[in-house]
Subunit: 281 residues, 2 copies
Amino acid sequence: MAKKTAPAVRDALRVRPGAGLHLTPRDTPVGPSTKAEAAEDLVATGAELSELQEHLFAEARRSVLLVLQGMDTSGKGGTVHHVFSLVNPQGVHVAAFGKPTREELRHDFLWRVRKQVPAPGRIGVFDRSHYEDVLIARVDELVPREVWEARYTAINDFEAELAAAGTTVVKVFLHISPDEQRERLISRLEDPAKQWKYDPSDLAARAKWPLYEEAYAAALERCSTTAAPWYVVPADRKWYRNWAVANILLETLRELDPRPPAPGYDVAAELARITYADPLA
Amino acid sequence: MAKKTAPAVRDALRVRPGAGLHLTPRDTPVGPSTKAEAAEDLVATGAELSELQEHLFAEARRSVLLVLQGMDTSGKGGTVHHVFSLVNPQGVHVAAFGKPTREELRHDFLWRVRKQVPAPGRIGVFDRSHYEDVLIARVDELVPREVWEARYTAINDFEAELAAAGTTVVKVFLHISPDEQRERLISRLEDPAKQWKYDPSDLAARAKWPLYEEAYAAALERCSTTAAPWYVVPADRKWYRNWAVANILLETLRELDPRPPAPGYDVAAELARITYADPLA
């Protein structure tokens, strides 16, 4: 039975405390090794994901939060598109976190994030997140060291609080190589339909690649907790990235094993009513 | 060119002032006449919808609001699932309006609705809407006649205001027959995985079918405006329903003809930078 499978994908991709980036952008440590295999597998994955998501929605008690992080062009938007096309959009809430507004900057860094936490029954997706506050904030020295240093603990506390309240937090780092980013930035610039996705500041961030590597390694090592683990998804190949994220989500939902609530009415009596006493018959 | 096609679907399904329900639940006044044809056509529809939605998102100036109404089991949820699986969930915001909370009841009936209006660049979907306030509110006499009577004008004003602010409002009535509803209610009751969707009050509403017909006819006749037309979608057959809603949306987006903004940077200069002065080379 598929449902009894061990969480092999999560086991292979999960960041162990202190381990940081244990995979390269083209690794395939688990699952399909070709695009065709991945496509075939995604059909079954999609059907099961869709059913489990409906049960989560019906149960309306717990929720899942998928946090997506990665360098520019790592495919956060594409992952949302491909993975969440498999489930009912009604049960999904996507929040994208851009540069904070002036109002957001007047509050604690978690203020805008808390407002987007998924309601019971929903799957929330963060396209960037509170991790930006220990990534760009650290690399660009937007705040003093003691401020961003304190944030790792604040994040772990926040995520433990979410977990305790019934939200399963799943954090995915989409791991691409500098070469792949270069190809993708050039593609964006060469395709008039994609030029809006490019910003000259993307190259400024690219120039700081080693600093970002350091910042990501710190976030992954310090914030991969039992309550809210980090997963590294090799993302140079889009088909592997989509397959891996869909299967991390699938294994997470299988473990939650959501069940629609038992009917709060007498099923047989209602069937009898509509069969023998249909008001419109 | 497909893009030059006249808005044949909207023309065939649009409610003309005073015309009310001009179609029956099994009509196919336009488009495919078999499930196989509809499935084939939806592939091309999906690809074009997805592209137009990305352009709407990139343009980030205008928005679309799809309002779905219909009797229980008419397929509002199923339509959201099937039609919006075709586009990027990141650009879609689904809001479901259930029984108003106590807080909502203390405010004007449009209060909770205004909060869910789609942001620029997004497609908003309402699963039920402010129309409940002239449907169940009228049928069950939840408010005095003079209160619900005044709401038709309030709704038309509200929707004209949305249209003027750049939100294209598209309202769809999913039209099912009493027989089809009976079959679907029985299916829900007989399938343990679907029993949570059933509520004994569904039968109480069913008993008032003629009153609901009257209330829907009034809403369709009085609120199908130039700024925000109503469409009747025959919904006894799910494949026709999904096809029709996807194509109403498609024609609406084609007419808006959204365009990604011109790049605010020098494309050639950026290409030269990454080609000849790549910071990581």
